[in-house]
Symmetry: C2
Subunit: 243 residues, 2 copies
């Protein structure tokens, strides 16, 4: 693990790093020492580890809860090179949608493919980040919606260090089987008028989670329009389960 830059503002320290070929960012409270809860965040499709929605949430997790937060670029995103195979599939999928095919099953197939790469990558990131003195081996949470849900469900199912997860904007097509292996508390976000994920698919993914404690929060609006007050709820959810 190699740190490439560092900055600090408003009590939050931000360190860019590379773990092999994976570019990442770690946020911790300025001056933090010793173990603390860690939240791994998965960004959305076409976004990256420092997308505004990731940074805004990460800074609040650090500033208000004292947590550590890590995010990495998904293959083909952010500071990573284009992946020829993924690019080819994405181009094919766009053509198939233009030709009238349904979007959701295509997204599902693509995310399942990428998850086979990201699950081991993210586990390696957890290993490396938890080795740092100012992070340590505390409880781990996961936050990810949309692509971050499609990749997050198989990750949370596979990784026993994760004790609680916020997921959503994703459907059962991509990950119902993995969801049935998730038993930790989940807060699951649904946009009631999601133009990308059919409502029934969202409800079916929530239904598939094996967690005894799971809460579905549905709000009006399109895929990208999660209301601001849900972040307050997310903070309390993680504080309750990891704090």
């Amino acid at each position: 693990m190699r740190f490439t830059s560092e900055a600090s503002s408003d009590g939050v320290r931000e360190q860019l790093f590379a773990l092999g070929e994976i570019p990442g960012v770690l946020w911790t409270p300025t001056g933090a020492a010793g173990p603390r809860p860690l939240i791994l965040m998965g960004h959305g499709g076409g976004q990256h580890k420092k997308a505004p929605g990731i940074v805004a949430r990460a800074r609040r997790f650090v500033a208000e809860c004292g947590f550590a937060v890590a995010a990495v670029d998904v293959p083909g995103h952010g500071d990573r090179p284009n992946d020829e195979e993924y690019d080819r599939i994405a181009t094919e999928n766009r053509a198939r949608v233009d030709a009238g095919e349904e979007l959701a099953p295509l997204i599902a197939g693509f995310q399942a493919l990428v998850a086979r790469q990201t699950v081991p990558e993210w586990r390696a990131v957890l290993d490396a980040v938890q080795d740092l003195d100012h992070v340590g081996a505390g409880p781990v949470g996961y936050w990810g919606v949309s692509l971050g849900c499609g990749l997050g469900v198989p990750f949370v199912a596979a990784e026993s260090r994760v004790r609680a997860a916020v997921l959503g904007l994703g459907g059962a097509l991509v990950s119902a089987e993995a969801a049935a292996r998730i038993t930790v508390p989940v807060e699951f976000l649904v946009q009631w008028d999601d133009e990308r994920v059919p409502r029934a698919q969202s409800l079916a993914l929530f239904d598939a989670l094996a967690s005894a404690e799971k809460t579905l929060h549905a709000n009006p609006g399109k895929h990208g329009e999660i209301p601001a007050f849900e972040l307050d709820s997310t903070l309390r959810f993680f504080a309750r389960h990891l704090g």
Copy 2:
């Protein structure tokens, strides 16, 4: 409006009252003076104005938010005499369910009938309670699930003083038409394994609400098993919209 008893504990003053034939209870902060937000609470079927679930929530609204809270007995409940017509219909409905009829439409018809009486009753209670110096004409919220939702939806739709409502455990059969006239923020509670309200009916009632801000919170469990953490969310919801 006639007060019949009064007590105070842990900073919460409890006054029993009668408004004509309607027995009620008013909770306010001990020593309160001047106007404040008021929450009207509607109890569940077979319960009453001082059912444990009502009292526990009311005391927290008062103690943590400084609100006033009022609850009254629904006809045929609590300190009210049996209502012969309602009793007759309830008996008939039990026989129809025993004979294999679906429960939900029978509940819906019954609640629609009772609401024609409770909507004007509750408006009269609001008038009387808001005339008190220690309540005053502040913003009003409504909380009610199950029967409290079936009676609450037409009440919230009719009463413009209500600025925010927590509803749930109710289906579209009883009140979709009234729900389409509700435009204030709503937090809507669904029990995912509700044995009394079909899931599709719950989702359809949420869908029918015309509110620009509405949030559905669904949790695993049966009709009576709303998890405790939802009360924390309810408190924040009312504080945000009435505080």
